[in-house]
């Protein structure tokens, strides 16, 4: 049997990211964001990225660094309040921002990963979120039809990865990471610890290795 080697250096891995790509990045206010991958993205200075992420963290942390370095042209997110630079770029028209309710963001990403054509959610009915969306009535309740969100690349942070890419996440650092790994064409994981196949109990795997393409260690 061959062993599919998913291990790669961070430089090799991040060389796969080019201008104009759509990238999902895990994390919640920086917790669970692969900081080493972000730093390398800043160094490589790829531009015109569309970023899909829960938030833009802080000016000096996580996705915030990409914003400060002006690498985004579009942002799909639920919250930008903790990073004033994101708000400034949005107000100045430097980046396009699509604000999505957090639960809807999670379901749209999951829908893409699960091959669904969309989901019906009550969230956002009667608000600005409803604009340009189909309203569907089911048994007298109104729902918005929300469409799947896919990406070229997902950047994921794990606590532990085995060589097949099976992942464990730590505490609240899990958040969007496992979902995003199902909805991107190329999934790059930065793992705090990399272990041999067989060292993670199959019952406790939080994301099956088939979703992971590339594993890098800590920077």
């Amino acid at each position: 049997m061959t062993t599919m080697n998913k291990l790669m250096s961070i430089d090799e891995a991040m060389a796969k990211i080019t201008d104009g790509m759509t990238i999902m990045i895990g994390g919640f206010l920086g917790v669970g964001t692969p900081e080493g991958l972000i730093n390398k993205l800043v160094e490589h200075d790829v531009k015109n990225l569309t970023i899909i992420a829960n938030d833009t963290a802080f000016v000096d942390k996580g996705i915030g660094k990409l914003v400060v370095n002006k690498q985004l042209s579009k942002l799909i997110t639920s919250h930008i309040g903790t990073n004033p630079e994101t708000g400034r770029q949005m107000n100045e028209g430097e980046i396009e921002v699509e604000l999505v309710p957090q639960g809807t963001l999670a379901e749209r990403i999951r829908a893409a990963g699960a091959g669904l054509g969309g989901i019906l959610t009550p969230t956002g009915v009667g608000t600005l979120v409803q604009n340009n969306k189909e309203l569907i009535k089911v048994e007298n309740n109104e729902y918005l039809l929300e469409l799947p969100l896919r990406a070229d690349v997902a950047l994921i942070k794990a606590k532990k990865a085995d060589l097949k890419g099976n992942l464990l996440f730590a505490q609240s650092a899990r958040n969007f990471n496992p979902l995003m790994a199902t909805a991107a064409n190329l999934v790059i994981v930065q793992a705090e610890e990399i272990v041999d196949i067989g060292e993670i109990d199959p019952d406790y795997v939080m994301l099956p290795g088939i979703f992971v393409d590339i594993i890098v260690g800590e920077a």
Partner: protein, 218 residues
């Protein structure tokens, strides 16, 4: 009144609304303070929308865990019997009606139970985060806020003029001056805060208030 005292009055009154066994999500600001006033005999499980149940108090200095924060990014702990999960499960819990009560701040609330708390066009656009899901999915939506804004202007209006977070979603409004229930007939003033009067509440509220037969002081 001192701002700290106002917040305490509100948080204390909100805490009494929580029942033993409830699953509760507390928003940032005054709602977070509610946790400090939950009676000992009432066991509440706090949900944190970034992905866990059993939210505990802040850790001791030096014991912070980089991977364990609340939805506001502050270091917290998890209680015995808690559970971590991903964002899809977190919002399945919220949207699916498995949260008994959510307590949130507001910029405006109105007679229809509409809530606005996520943006001021042209000024402040932080985004809705998990708020729109919380107000849609939680069994009970409690707004905890100061009765008027910084300039003394009413925040309880006939009609919200800021973009809504949710339509017909609020069940209860608790301020330092009043406890108001949102009913199908309109806003019902059931209690007033310490050191105020029904008159003062009515004057500092734009919305029409229905006065309960037996208005209590909390």
């Amino acid at each position: 009144m001192d701002s700290k005292l106002i917040k305490e009055i509100i948080a204390k009154r909100v805490a009494k609304e929580l029942n033993d066994g409830d699953v509760v999500n507390l928003g940032i600001g005054i709602p977070t303070l509610v946790a400090n006033y939950i009676p000992e005999e009432v066991e509440v499980t706090l949900q944190s929308e970034n992905g866990f149940l059993g939210l505990g108090p802040a850790p001791l200095p030096g014991e912070e865990n980089q991977n364990l924060t609340n939805a506001g990014g502050k270091y917290v702990t998890i209680n015995n019997g808690g559970a971590f999960f991903d964002s899809a499960m977190s919002f399945a819990i919220i949207r699916g009606g498995h949260v008994d009560a959510t307590v949130l701040g507001a910029l405006q609330v109105d007679q229809q139970g509409n809530l606005a708390n996520w943006m001021i066009p042209g000024k402040l656009v932080p985004g809705m985060g998990g708020a729109m899901d919380l107000v849609t999915g939680a069994k009970r939506v409690i707004v905890a806020m100061e009765h008027t804004d910084k300039n003394g202007m009413p925040k309880i209006l006939k009609n919200c003029n800021l973009p809504l977070t949710g339509k017909n979603v609020v069940d209860l409004i608790i301020t330092e001056k009043a406890l108001i229930e949102v009913t199908t007939e309109g806003l019902l003033l059931r209690e007033i805060g310490p050191g105020t009067s029904v008159d003062e509440v009515v004057k500092s509220t734009e919305a029409s208030l229905i006065l309960d037969d037996n208005i209590k002081v909390f």
